[in-house]
């Protein structure tokens, strides 16, 4: 298993600004993912963070809006750019292997006003 930490745990931001969320894993992992979740609802995959190369984005998500970095096997960041109230959500980082088992961070609760 892996222990995932995220920061910040929550933030309130003004529209038009950007927020960078950090995700740290306590061990080297093959895969890291970023999800978005409305409270009480399912997870939507934003992108797969690839170490040393550009992230792989899911349909509906673009790099200009959600730039992702993954400089090494234990760390990744997600930036939510030019925020609007529609970006208010919980953002989850996860780490896993190629078989699919994932370990999740506690989440970042973002409110955009």
């Amino acid at each position: 298993s892996a222990v995932i930490s995220q920061k910040p745990s929550r933030d309130i931001c003004q529209r038009g600004t950007s927020l960078t969320i950090q995700c740290q894993v306590d061990s080297q992992v093959t895969m890291m993912f970023w999800y978005r979740q409305q409270p009480g609802q399912s997870l939507t995959l934003i992108a797969t963070a690839n170490q040393g190369s550009e992230a792989t984005y899911e349909s509906g998500f673009v790099i200009d809006k959600f730039p992702i970095s993954r400089p090494n096997l234990t760390f990744s960041t997600l930036t939510v750019s030019n925020m609007s109230p529609e970006d208010s959500s919980i953002y989850l980082c996860s780490a896993g292997d190629s078989r699919g088992e994932q370990y999740f961070g506690p989440g970042t609760r973002l409110t955009v006003t």
Binding site: I4, Q41, S42, L45, S98, G100, F104, G107
Partner: protein
């Protein structure tokens, strides 16, 4: 394309009674199947998985799940529910030949009443 369905938005059960949370899936090959639990205001926790082998898999907190290939199901079960089991449960599926993406179900909220 792979998909997963959790037909019940909510399951209510009395403490001490057995519980079942249902999950069905659709995938082209042999699936990797998972259950995760999310307690209030917390991230998801891995409960158990089926990759291959015995159709009955055991996981954390006394939970188990049964893989049924003919019915394409992977229902989560526990013989005796606890109030502390009340949470949001997600079934997830991965197609081994479909890259790294895992698909999550819509979630089932479990309420265990004392």
């Amino acid at each position: 394309a792979q998909s997963v369905a959790q037909p019940e938005d909510q399951v209510n059960v009395a403490e001490g009674n057995p519980l079942t949370v249902k999950c069905t899936y659709s995938v082209s090959g042999n699936p990797y199947l998972f259950w995760y639990v999310q307690y209030p205001n917390r991230g998801l926790q891995f409960l158990l998985k089926y990759i291959t082998g015995d159709n009955l898999v055991k996981g954390s907190y006394g939970f188990e799940a049964e893989f049924n290939k003919s019915q394409t199901s992977f229902h989560l079960k526990k013989p005796s529910a606890l109030v502390s089991d009340s949470a949001l449960y997600f079934c997830a599926v991965k197609d081994p030949g479909g890259g790294f993406k895992t698909i999550f179900g819509a979630g089932t909220r479990l309420f265990v009443k004392a």
